[in-house]
């Protein structure tokens, strides 16, 4: 009879212990799934207490502060190094000038500025708008200055591709998008490359952003050329900065 008693005991034991066995099985599943349900439940419950956007704002402002400090440090170091090498200074004085008449399309693509020779503007001064270079001063009167835009067919400015260090000539065509004509047969540029003024230029201050390459035509005649999307929009700019040397 002991076997029958054991059987009775075990069946009654199982009947009493099944909730515990179920719990153990559930815990084993939890363990094997590396806490999937537990973490998800915790995330769901704690969602109202998650860090808000304020923290990302703090991070972003801290990042901006850091960037500004780094730019200032790099600019001063760049100026010191350029001084040592004897190159033109990257940060000369700038005059803010209002645009008093504009002709962004047509036979002459020009702007007329409300500052002239009396304020120190000279022929050939570089003119900047938010975004980068938009043109060079082509003539000055005592109180006005005429800017020939980069899109004007008479505009020729030396630029370079900072990534590959190839020089080219930025040439206006009378349309919104000027082209760069390279002096090498294979300039190795691709769409998306950023164009800045040449660091070796004597006409314009070095390393001013000009635009982004949109498309490249290596088989163009007489030189490989790339279409440029200008970074600054002259048609909608009311105030510009004239670089005074």
């Amino acid at each position: 009879m002991p076997a029958r008693r054991w059987l009775r005991f075990s069946t009654t034991g199982l009947a009493q212990a099944w909730p515990w066995l179920l719990l153990l099985t559930a815990l084993a599943v939890l363990r094997l799934s590396k806490g999937a349900l537990l973490s998800d439940a915790y995330a769901l419950l704690s969602r109202p207490f998650w860090p808000g956007t304020a923290q990302s704002e703090w991070l972003r402002s801290a990042r901006r502060f850091e960037d500004r400090a780094r730019i200032a440090a790099l600019e001063s170091e760049n100026a010191r190094l350029r001084g040592l090498v004897g190159l033109q200074q990257a940060t000369p004085a700038r005059i803010t000038a209002p645009v008093i008449a504009r002709d962004p399309a047509g036979w002459w693509q020009t702007l007329l500025l409300g500052r002239g020779a009396l304020q120190g503007v000279r022929e050939g001064s570089a003119v900047l708008a938010p975004g980068g270079l938009i043109g060079l001063v082509s003539s000055v009167t005592p109180t006005t200055a005429r800017v020939t835009l980069l899109t004007d067919p008479s505009s020729r400015v030396g630029v370079w591709v900072a990534r590959t260090r190839y020089h080219g000539l930025l040439t206006g065509l009378g349309t919104d998008r000027p082209v760069i004509r390279f002096l090498e047969k294979d300039p190795g540029v691709v769409a998306g490359d950023v164009i800045t003024t040449s660091p070796a230029s004597t006409l314009v201050p070095p390393d001013l952003p000009v635009g982004v390459i949109q498309s490249v035509d290596l088989r163009a005649d007489p030189a490989p050329e790339a279409v440029l999307q200008l970074a600054a929009r002259a048609a909608s700019t009311d105030w510009v900065q004239v670089v005074v040397r």
């Binding site: 036979w107 082509s138 067919p153 009378g174 007489p222």
Partner: protein
């Protein structure tokens, strides 16, 4: 005659809504047409040359607008004296369109001649990329055929559209000012 000063003022300060794809109308043509029609060929020539010289002063050197405007002034002056008086809006619009077309064609011709001159000079160095030729500023033949054509069409269209309104008003004004001394 002092009203000729309006031409450079309007060229400089034309509002954005009077532009087509950024190109403004030929204000010199819009001012010269009624003036020459009322005042005769000699006065038209002088006025055309004056407006042309004023506009040339506003633009970088190289090409000039006064020869075309002088010829237009003479043509329209003769037309006003010889034929029946021109008053219909359609005729004014057509004449202004023709005038703007001739003015712009004269500019294109000057740039084309200048670029051909450079091209002939630039052929001296064969082989490789001719940096001298690349650096030549100004409208080249290919630019004139593309962007230049757009500018020309926009200017001709806009001038032709504005002429019926503006030139009619000016015609009435000049004729009243002349006190009917000119034959109608």
């Amino acid at each position: 005659m002092a009203s000729v000063l309006l031409v450079p003022c309007l060229t400089l300060a034309a509002p954005g809504f009077l532009r087509l794809a950024g190109v403004g109308p030929a204000w010199a043509v819009l001012w010269l047409l009624p003036w020459a029609l009322v005042d005769g060929p000699v006065s038209g020539m002088v006025a055309g040359a004056a407006a042309g010289l004023l506009l040339d002063a506003l633009h970088p050197a190289g090409v000039s607008q006064w020869p075309a405007l002088l010829l237009l002034g003479f043509w329209w002056g003769r037309m006003g004296r010889r034929g029946p008086p021109i008053e219909r809006s359609f005729s004014l619009g057509l004449l202004a369109m023709l005038g703007s077309l001739l003015l712009d064609l004269s500019l294109m011709l000057q740039w084309l001649l200048a670029s051909l001159q450079v091209r002939a000079d630039g052929l001296i160095s064969p082989g490789g990329i001719d940096a001298f030729r690349l650096a030549q500023p100004g409208w080249q033949a290919a630019d004139l055929a593309q962007a230049g054509l757009h500018v020309l069409l926009a200017r001709v269209l806009l001038t032709g559209l504005l002429a019926p309104v503006l030139c009619s008003l000016q015609l009435v004004f000049w004729r009243q000012l002349c006190g009917g001394s000119l034959r109608r």
